[in-house]
């Protein structure tokens, strides 16, 4: 009797081991590395135009095959639909296998669509378990996402990965534009004000589309991380660049490393200070029913390059440089603040700070905060800088 039961159990487990409903062979998968969303047409049926960038595994993996014609490391396909999922499904007409989304590296949104509003774009990403919400979003300026996904990139064969790498190094080294991940944007969508980093296409798309583009030493067509898009109510209001964009990083405590140039007595922008660490603290005081934002920025830097002959051996010079640096940073932040206030966009999330500080007060002013109170809010910025070192030399050789 025991043997019979054992036998039955073995048979039963055979049924279980034959594979489940949800298995898919690896050959049948098309690994999507990047998704682009553009405005489709004007009717409801082709609201969105989605582009997927699919990895071409034979060109990316393994050793080089000399003498063979190199096809591109990725392929892209586009389709339109009334919702994102529908548009993505329609792409399967053109692709030979099933689209596999868990490895999506980046999502690119076209500027035209961003002007009309992007609030509805993220439900699919949240709801579908095959999307990981950790990938970054970028807005492409002046071109469509479809074009952006066509540009070949040097050094990293899969362009979507190159975009992510550029975002990461840009955030770490230049700290001008932050990486905006989907999961960081989604909680802010309802409040309507947030910022997303932008990407530009330099050169001709038609040239970027070819593999010859990366076979040259200088790529005539390339992708560049540039610009910070400020959104209000889910639509693009304005773009910030360079120092104005960097101001946002100072305030939101996202500054990692960057470079600030100061003036010499005889030359402007002649001294470069490496910023090594930065930290910002925000405290809100409620005075006379009005919030006052007090910001303290603490930063550490070192002298990295001089174009004039400052007497760096004297402590007095260092202290003057520190003062100048504090002023520079303060001005940058004030400039950003002013733009945000003029445009009535609380991109920094001060509202949340007020809520934490005094929830009863916040409940009263929540509905009028962004449009009425924020533009008039008093902001006090205090910057404390320390310059510790001057590198391998003290004074420059310049006379």
């Amino acid at each position: 009797m025991q043997r019979l039961y054992l036998f039955l159990i073995l048979i039963f487990s055979l049924i279980c081991l034959s594979g489940c409903w949800d298995n898919v062979e690896l050959k049948e998968l098309s690994i999507v590395s990047g998704i682009g969303i553009d405005k489709g047409g004007d009717s409801d049926e082709n609201r969105y135009s989605t582009t997927v960038q699919i990895v071409n595994p034979s060109q990316v993996a393994g050793g080089q095959q000399g003498g063979k014609v190199q096809s591109a490391p990725v392929t892209s396909f586009t389709a339109t639909g009334s919702t994102l999922k529908e548009a993505l499904r329609k792409i399967s007409h053109k692709v030979s296998s099933q689209l596999f989304f868990p490895h999506v590296q980046v999502m690119i949104i076209g500027e035209e669509l961003a002007k009309e509003g992007i609030l509805e774009l993220f439900d699919l990403i949240e709801r579908d378990p095959s999307f990981r919400v950790l990938f970054p979003i970028v807005i492409v300026r002046g071109h469509t996402a479809e074009d952006a996904l066509k540009i070949t990139t040097p050094l990293v064969p899969i362009p979507s990965m190159k975009i992510v790498d550029s975002l990461e190094s840009s955030e770490k080294i230049w700290s001008e534009y932050p990486i905006s991940r989907v999961d960081q944007i989604i909680p802010r969508l309802n409040k309507g004000s947030f910022s997303i980093t932008g990407i530009n296409i330099n050169g001709e798309v038609a040239i970027g589309n070819k593999t010859e583009n990366t076979q040259q030493i200088y790529q005539t067509a390339n992708l560049e991380i540039k610009g910070l898009a400020l959104f209000k109510e889910g639509k693009i209001e304005t773009w910030l660049e360079n120092e104005s964009a960097r101001g946002v990083m100072w305030v939101k405590n996202q500054m990692e490393q960057t470079v600030v140039t100061l003036d010499c007595p005889k030359k402007k922008d002649a001294i470069t200070i490496d910023i090594l660490r930065a930290h910002s603290d925000i405290k809100i005081n409620i005075k006379n029913e009005k919030p006052v934002i007090n910001m303290t920025i603490v930063t550490l830097g070192s002298v990295s390059e001089t174009q004039c002959n400052l007497p760096l051996e004297k402590n007095k010079t260092i202290i003057e440089l520190e003062k100048q640096l504090s002023e520079e940073i303060k001005e940058e932040v004030l400039k950003t603040m002013k733009t945000a206030q003029d445009r009535k966009i609380d991109v920094f999330g001060f509202g949340n700070n007020i809520n934490i500080e005094d929830k009863k007060y916040w409940k009263k002013i929540e509905s009028t905060w962004e449009d009425e109170i924020f533009p008039e809010t008093e902001i006090n910025i205090n910057v404390l800088t320390t310059i510790r070192r001057t590198g391998m030399r003290i004074n420059s050789y310049i006379e």
Binding site: C16, C20, W21, D22, P102, E126, P129, R132, V133, L134, D183, I186, P187, N190, N352, N355, I356, E357, K359
Partner: protein, 362 residues
């Protein structure tokens, strides 16, 4: 009644995993927004108060399960009906556990697999363990608690160092005042999972050392309460309260955000496995409570006769209790939350009062 005996630590382990149940993964206590963790702790304290009702009843009738002393206290016929109601309650909650787990598995990982397949497999394993007896269940629990703790510690460790934590998400405390906390506690956290521990009154007669009940129950209650509160706290800290409100399985989303060194990622499996273990034991205990009740009320020889038929009932019920997941959640929210007061508070309290009066007049 079996001749089996379970020890104090085994009961502790069973109670602890029972309490973790589905609560550790599902949307729990979020009615209180950012103070959900506090609502959980408040529910835990109320659970301790509830325990003393069950404890008193246990002291008076140490050898009888709930269905047994309900007949002693309320008379043969009324007590029998109360016992039957409890059996139905236990069966229903078993069904909900099975359905909950199957839904988790299907909606997060195996989207095309039919619900029935997972339900049948799951219930079959529960039936098999229970067929072998409560002592086997307890020993299995001892093995799995080690695995559960390991997963729990590993998952927590990775979440803590992932850099996604922002405890500012929990501020301001009492953002909407005390009312949401009180409402959530008395409508949700007091019953789920602390009030549900009433099913253990069916298992207490099996204890080897009845004197260790108080220590075991209360310590399991407190430990699980703190861990559940901590889990809710983590979920809100990592995801933010709006996302947690809208998620079906917040802990799964939280662990999905862990991405260290581009290498340690997609740890969903840890959470799914943990839930598999905890829900297995919760479902098994509820089903066992129902089975003991049936054996007691219908004066059967042993429990093994009814295990598989009851399993069949659970399988079918799990499919038919709700046509879709939102309906399932709605039933739990709107339907159950008042009715369960009957089982974990009203009946035991009344029985305790009547029993005390009877003893007074002896």
């Amino acid at each position: 009644m079996e001749k089996a005996k379970i020890s104090g630590p085994q009961l502790f382990v069973l109670m602890f995993m029972f309490n973790m149940g589905t609560a550790v993964v599902v949307n729990y206590g979020i009615g209180a927004n950012k103070d959900a963790w506090f609502a959980v702790l408040f529910g835990m304290f109320n659970g301790i108060a509830l325990f003393f009702i069950y404890y008193r009843l246990f002291i008076h009738y140490p050898k009888l399960p709930l269905t047994g002393y309900s007949r002693e206290i309320a008379g043969k016929h009324l007590g029998w009906i109360i016992g039957l109601l409890y059996i139905l309650y236990f069966l229903h909650i078993t069904t909900r556990q099975v359905r909950d787990f199957s839904e988790l598995l299907v909606s997060s990982t195996m989207t095309k697999t039919p619900l029935l397949v997972i339900v049948i497999t799951f219930v079959f394993v529960i039936c098999y363990v229970l067929y072998l007896g409560v002592e086997v269940l307890a020993r299995t629990a001892q093995v799995f608690i080690a695995i559960l703790f390991t997963f729990g510690i590993v998952a927590n460790f990775f979440i803590l160092i992932s850099g996604n934590l922002d405890f500012q998400n929990l501020r301001p405390f009492l953002e909407h005042g005390w009312k949401p906390i009180v409402t959530t506690t008395f409508l949700e956290t007091i019953h789920f999972p602390f009030g549900e521990m009433v099913v253990f009154t069916m298992l207490l007669p099996y204890l080897k050392h009845p004197s260790s009940v108080k220590k075991t129950w209360v310590s399991a209650l407190i430990l699980s309460g703190f861990i559940l509160s901590w889990t809710v706290c983590l979920n809100i800290a990592v995801l933010g309260v709006e996302v947690v409100e809208r998620s079906t399985f917040p802990t799964l989303t939280t662990i999905g955000k862990v991405n260290l060194l581009e290498f340690i990622q997609r740890l969903d499996a840890l959470v799914v496995f943990s839930m598999m273990i905890t829900v297995f034991f919760k479902g098994a205990i509820f089903m066992y409570g129902a089975v003991i009740g049936i054996v007691d009320l219908f004066k059967l020889k042993n429990h093994q006769q009814v295990i598989f038929p009851v399993g069949g009932i659970i399988i079918i019920s799990a499919i038919i209790i709700a046509p879709n997941f939102p309906a399932y959640l709605e039933e739990g929210r709107d339907g159950l939350r008042y009715m369960v007061y009957l089982f974990f508070l009203i009946f035991p309290l009344i029985m305790l009062v009547i029993s005390a009066i009877k003893k007074r007049f002896k």
